[in-house]
């Protein structure tokens, strides 16, 4: 038990902070959002050069051999920056490949991913499934000469940028069976793929995908056939650890902005922050900020837990707490900013939207409460 950052982690934190300070002034972010490309290729290259894109992968897979806690440090910075770069989808896809890929697959994809030359995403949700991971109607038919993908995926985060998408498909079993799920690597350019790109409230964008008899080579299978669910669960937990840290960054940015607003805005002839009622609410925001940081650390550390039920429970607990603290800070930051807080102009509203999106993805609080109940009844 040791809650201190290592020296390397301390350096990484400083490096991330510097990067954010240099490149993510809010007006610059808004320009990137408006320019149609969605994010900055230049910054992406820099992040690749800093080694961040595959920071937690083993060195033999082209990573730096860090832990999820290292990824979390980067995510916290990106949360503070309200970054538009598709870092999270890259982390999720690369970790799946590193955990499940053949040597050939690793060699083929992880290098370009690490170098920022290849964009990937993971398609694991379907319209009817809500947050249920094992509810999968997309079917994968395995033939002698390859595989055929049939069905559709919704809300593929970062999918609009992805050259390759890891798709969850069912190779056997009923729609809701926990067994029979497989992962396949699907090239953007394959015939039979229909895509609908759209903007999302948080500016990050997503894609709905439809597959009509999409033919895949046998080499597109990632990991053992029909046994993907535990890995998808792992990926979900990793995603939670990531967005928890992102939320910690966003929450602390909101607290900072609100504090400054309270100090500088005057009303009835004195600073807003002279109002004790607002002071106490600012204190509660500050408390929530510390709680967000703490539970995000907990989530990242618990990704090292070998027992999958204990890990799932811990990350669900993380998501429940993040949902509470992020909602609280986001709503209060807007409210304490008054009318300006709800405009397009200020960053506050954009953080609000991102935190709201985080709460609605990878399972909302209620879904995780049910998931914890399931974990508890298993014990």
């Amino acid at each position: 038990m040791d809650l201190n950052y290592s020296e390397e982690q301390q350096m990484l934190r400083e490096s991330v902070e510097r990067f954010v300070r240099q490149h993510y002034a809010f007006p610059d972010r808004q320009k990137r959002l408006a320019d149609g490309r969605g994010f900055s290729r230049e910054l992406w290259q820099q992040m690749a050069e800093l080694g961040w894109l595959t920071i937690s992968l083993p060195e033999e897979d082209g990573g730096i051999g860090g832990s999820v806690a290292d990824t979390a440090i980067v995510m916290e910075g990106l949360g503070q920056a309200l970054a538009l770069e598709p870092y999270l989808p890259t982390v999720l896809a690369s970790v799946l490949i590193a955990r499940l890929g053949t040597d050939e697959q690793k060699a083929r994809y992880l290098g370009p991913l690490a170098e920022g030359q290849l964009q990937m995403a993971v398609a694991f949700t379907e319209p009817q499934a809500r947050y249920q991971l094992d509810d999968c109607a997309t079917r994968l038919e395995v033939r002698d000469d390859g595989m055929v993908l049939e069905g559709g995926k919704s809300l593929v985060l970062g999918g609009q940028h992805a050259d390759m998408t890891v798709v969850v498909a069912r190779s056997s079993g009923d729609r809701k069976s926990p067994d029979g799920l497989s992962l396949v690597l699907v090239d953007r350019e394959l015939p039979g793929i229909e895509r609908r790109d759209y903007q999302t409230n948080d500016g990050l964008g997503a894609v709905d995908m439809h597959f009509s008899s999409v033919r895949l080579p046998a080499s597109a299978l990632l990991g053992p056939r029909g046994e993907a669910l535990p890995e998808i669960e792992y990926m979900l937990d990793l995603a939670i650890a990531c967005v928890a840290s992102e939320a910690a960054g966003a929450v602390s940015a909101l607290c900072q902005a609100t504090l400054e607003y309270l100090r500088n805005r005057t009303q009835f002839g004195r600073p807003l922050g002279a109002n004790q009622a607002l002071q106490h609410r600012m204190v509660d925001m500050f408390i929530a900020q510390e709680e967000t940081r703490s539970i995000a650390l907990y989530g990242a550390m618990m990704m090292e837990e070998p027992d999958p039920v204990a890990r799932k429970r811990a990350l669900s607990l993380t998501k429940v707490e993040i949902a509470r603290t992020a909602r609280h800070v986001a709503q209060e930051a807007v409210q304490l900013h008054g009318a300006m807080g709800v405009t397009e102009e200020l960053s506050v509203g954009h953080y609000f939207k991102r935190l709201t999106a985080i709460n609605a993805t990878f399972g909302d609080s209620d879904w995780h409460l049910h998931r914890i109940a399931q974990c508890d009844h298993q014990q």
Binding site: R130, L155, Q199, Q335, G338, A339
Partner: protein, 398 residues
């Protein structure tokens, strides 16, 4: 004391229902049902239909063309209207400009301005807030200089709802600089077509446009457009603010939002069951419903008070605070109900411009947007913090 409708009230409710059923344009009702944003024309069409029936200004005294309803009737009208997907009546004419004009205006002003409000041929907007005076209205600095037969107005108004739709604005301006800040404010009616007026949109975080900044640059306002006495505008504005807080409870609209939430949560599936039957989600909905039920009875109690001639007083602030908090919570649960389909941003669908089908179910396409949009409810019309100050000061004498 009785919660159910008596025979007379039932007959009235039937009449309202029948009128709406036969007169509300289907395209407008559909937009309201979907929580889409309405155009100026949508609002005006419906308000003019009501105007012809004499119901657009249903809260006015009969001598100015009101229908002579009692508070329960007015309440029923609002609840049924919302229930049947009528647009809300924009308050700036019938709720704000109108009452000030018929209470404090001259006969000429009444003759000139009231008919356009009654018939809803004129769109009004409210020029109160300024960049440096949000909740602290009395510190406003827009100047109106006395130039004999007219005032010369210079300044800037902000958060002006629908200024881009408006024909006229009622406006607080400073006509005297010394004394207490509340003294020296005057209440002017300004033609939005006057030279020197420029309206600039303020975009909201969810991408919609209903607020504006209004720049006034040497705008000439004839003195006949002054309401009441010069320098006494503050008292007229206060008169309005109190009434506004009662309206802000918006029970009818919030009850309709609750129904919509339940409908959506019945369509959404969680683990093969309707989401509404998920014990956690159901409990969250019911907890708000209980609060809404208490709010409704409180509003009816306040209305009964008003009916018996008492001023609503600071308890109106309670309605504003809880009315907005509850409406916000309902919008939040609605957004939660649609799961990750709260993410897509679909402004085209929101404004019903869409050739495109929405991403995900149609009911999801406006859910998140409305959650975002409703964050402003607890800020406008005197933030809930200001309302708490008002209650503390006046009612609790703290």
């Amino acid at each position: 004391m009785e919660f159910r409708l008596n025979q007379e009230q039932q007959a009235f409710a039937d009449e309202v229902r029948e009128f709406i059923r036969t007169h509300l344009p289907a395209d407008i009702a559909r937009k309201v049902r979907r929580d889409q944003h309405l155009s100026r024309d949508d609002y005006m069409r419906w308000q003019q239909i009501l105007g012809q029936k004499g119901w657009h200004t249903f809260n006015w005294p009969e001598e100015y063309g009101g229908p002579g309803w009692n508070v329960i009737q007015s309440y029923l009208f609002e609840v049924i209207s919302a229930e049947m997907d009528c647009p809300i009546i924009q308050p700036f004419g019938p709720r704000m400009a109108g009452p000030v004009i018929y209470t404090f205006g001259t006969e000429e002003q009444k003759d000139r301005f009231l008919p356009g409000i009654r018939d809803s041929t004129v769109w009004w907007c409210q020029g109160y807030s300024e960049p440096q005076s949000g909740s602290d209205l009395a510190s406003l600095s827009t100047q109106a200089e006395d130039r004999g037969d007219h005032y010369l107005v210079n300044g800037q108004k902000i958060w002006t709802s629908y200024a881009h739709y408006a024909d006229w604005m009622f406006c607080l301006v400073r006509t005297r600089g010394d004394g207490r800040p509340q003294e020296g404010i005057s209440f002017l009616l300004i033609d939005m077509n006057s030279p020197g007026i420029e309206v600039q949109p303020i975009l909201m975080m969810e991408g919609t446009h209903s607020f504006n900044t209004v720049f006034l640059d040497n705008v000439k306002v004839p003195k006949e457009n002054l309401i009441g006495e010069q320098d006494k505008g503050w008292s007229y504005a206060k008169f309005l603010l109190e009434h506004e807080r009662v309206d802000n409870a918006a029970i009818g609209v919030t009850k309709a939002a609750m129904r919509r939430l339940k409908a959506i949560a019945s369509q959404e599936r969680s683990d093969e069951r309707p989401l509404l039957e998920d014990p956690l989600f159901h409990a969250r909905v019911i907890e708000v419903e209980a609060q809404l039920q208490a709010l409704e009875v409180t509003a009816l109690r306040v209305l009964s008070q008003v009916a018996s001639g008492q001023a609503p007083g600071p308890v109106a602030s309670l309605l504003k605070i809880r009315g907005t908090e509850i409406a916000q919570r309902i919008s939040e649960l609605t957004s939660q109900a649609v799961g990750h389909y709260a993410l897509p941003f679909q402004p085209g669908y929101l404004r019903d411009e869409g050739a495109e089908e929405p991403v995900g179910p149609a009911h999801a396409a406006t859910a998140a947007n409305n959650y975002l949009w409703r964050r402003s409810m607890s800020i406008y019309g005197g933030s809930n913090e200001i309302q708490r100050n008002i209650i503390a000061k006046h009612m609790l004498e703290l």
